[in-house]
Symmetry: C2
Subunit: 251 residues, 2 copies
């Protein structure tokens, strides 16, 4: 394959895997990574030897323990998720709702963590997954404090997801201004029918908004704002935690 270095070829094999393709056989890997079968075979072998991939009894491959292990060393995980987790859990325990922690990844909200007891609302998000910025509360919060040019770009590509999704750029811009003023973002059935959400921003060591924490609640509930004080408290506790660490070392 022209222009791809050896390493890139090996990495493109890993790229063949995603949420909807967690298990692939060799032929599928070769096809999805655009490599001849023999070449894919050789690379896959090496990746398996290194435990980047695992081979299952049925012959399919999946991401291995070693990569999971490595991924836990990423800044996103260690510096954000681990710092936030205790507060998120308390928030979850206090409110009983599904709790989200997300960061902005281009025009998407990337879900870093999702907590929710056995009885919480079922939601579409999953850790490592993404959802649109404009239709979720965490997304709106992240967008409200995003750089102006990125905000403008996001406003020009509003996709309708439910009858209640805000797809008018002017209206969303007004909402974002309101979010900056009140420091709370809301949605109501804009992503999923039956679900409402609230979110507030988390500020990092530098004082800018680096993440958002949100609650998802059934939209029929009347006291939608009841979790807000706890949410604000959690977000500012996480912000304080991030501020106090700056550049800490290992665990």
């Amino acid at each position: 394959m022209a222009g791809r270095s050896v390493t890139l070829r090996a990495l493109s094999i890993l790229d063949a895997f995603d949420v909807r393709h967690r298990r692939l056989n060799l032929t599928e890997i070769a096809r999805r990574s655009n490599l001849p079968l023999a070449t894919a075979h050789r690379h896959v072998q090496e990746l398996v030897d290194w435990h980047a991939l695992e081979r299952r009894a049925d012959g399919t491959y999946q991401i291995g323990t070693r990569l999971w292990h490595l991924g836990l060393l990423s800044a996103m995980h260690v510096e954000l998720r681990e710092a936030a987790l205790p507060y998120l859990q308390d928030l979850c325990a206090v409110t009983g709702d599904t709790v989200h922690l997300a960061v902005r990844d281009g025009f998407k909200a990337l879900y870093v963590e999702r907590l929710g007891g056995v009885r919480s609302v079922r939601v579409v998000s999953r850790p490592g997954g993404t959802l649109p910025l404009h239709a979720t509360a965490v997304g709106k919060a992240l967008l409200a404090w995003a750089p102006a040019d990125e905000q403008r770009a996001a406003l020009s590509r509003l996709e309708r997801l439910t009858p209640y999704t805000v797809v008018d750029p002017t209206r969303l811009a007004a909402q974002l201004a309101e979010i900056r003023r009140t420091e709370v973002a809301w949605t109501r059935e804009e992503m999923t029918l039956g679900a409402a959400s609230v979110a507030v921003g988390v500020t990092g060591a530098a004082g800018s908004v680096v993440a958002a924490v949100g609650l998802v609640i059934p939209s029929h509930r009347t006291n939608v704002g009841s979790g807000l004080p706890a949410l604000r408290a959690a977000a500012s506790a996480i912000s304080a935690h991030l501020r106090s660490r700056r550049s800490a070392g290992a665990a």
Copy 2:
């Protein structure tokens, strides 16, 4: 470097990172992965381009978002952690203690998840980290149901960690038998002074013990067994969940 394929060299760069070396500069990476600086430089460049690594403002490198993302596709994460998480959270909320989910990784207990509110006991474990099998409750539970030969091997290498660590193979073997009988594992200050722990096994789709769930509690607490019913309930709920899925697809 003799005998290492290109891919393996690139992977050995990733291997330079671990819990105590989350951020490395180029020189350190080259040294730790045993590669000439120029070679390391080339590989690191490619890994950064692919977002396997990230370069920070101060010039150091760390594991990037892409690997974190990929790791979340591993079976360990999707099939075990995600299935167990809601139950673990409930368990954490009910007991107020630190909750652990671990699997056996050779002679170590590999911590897949750790939950604990802001007020829980500080513990030495971390997700993705390992602790000895013989000095932790989850470890003992995993060891109790391990294959006989591995169990024997583990018994021959008991390291003392506190004055209370059980290092006599005969005594530990008796404890393991007791654990299989009662289906509960205990420790008391065997890993960390001041901490006790309880754990029970989780059975997978095939009916064998694949993981263990445990609680860590301050050892001065008198009602050490008070969390046991909730712990048992959580473990059997997770086991049931795993049994009912067998080979489910995506989220």
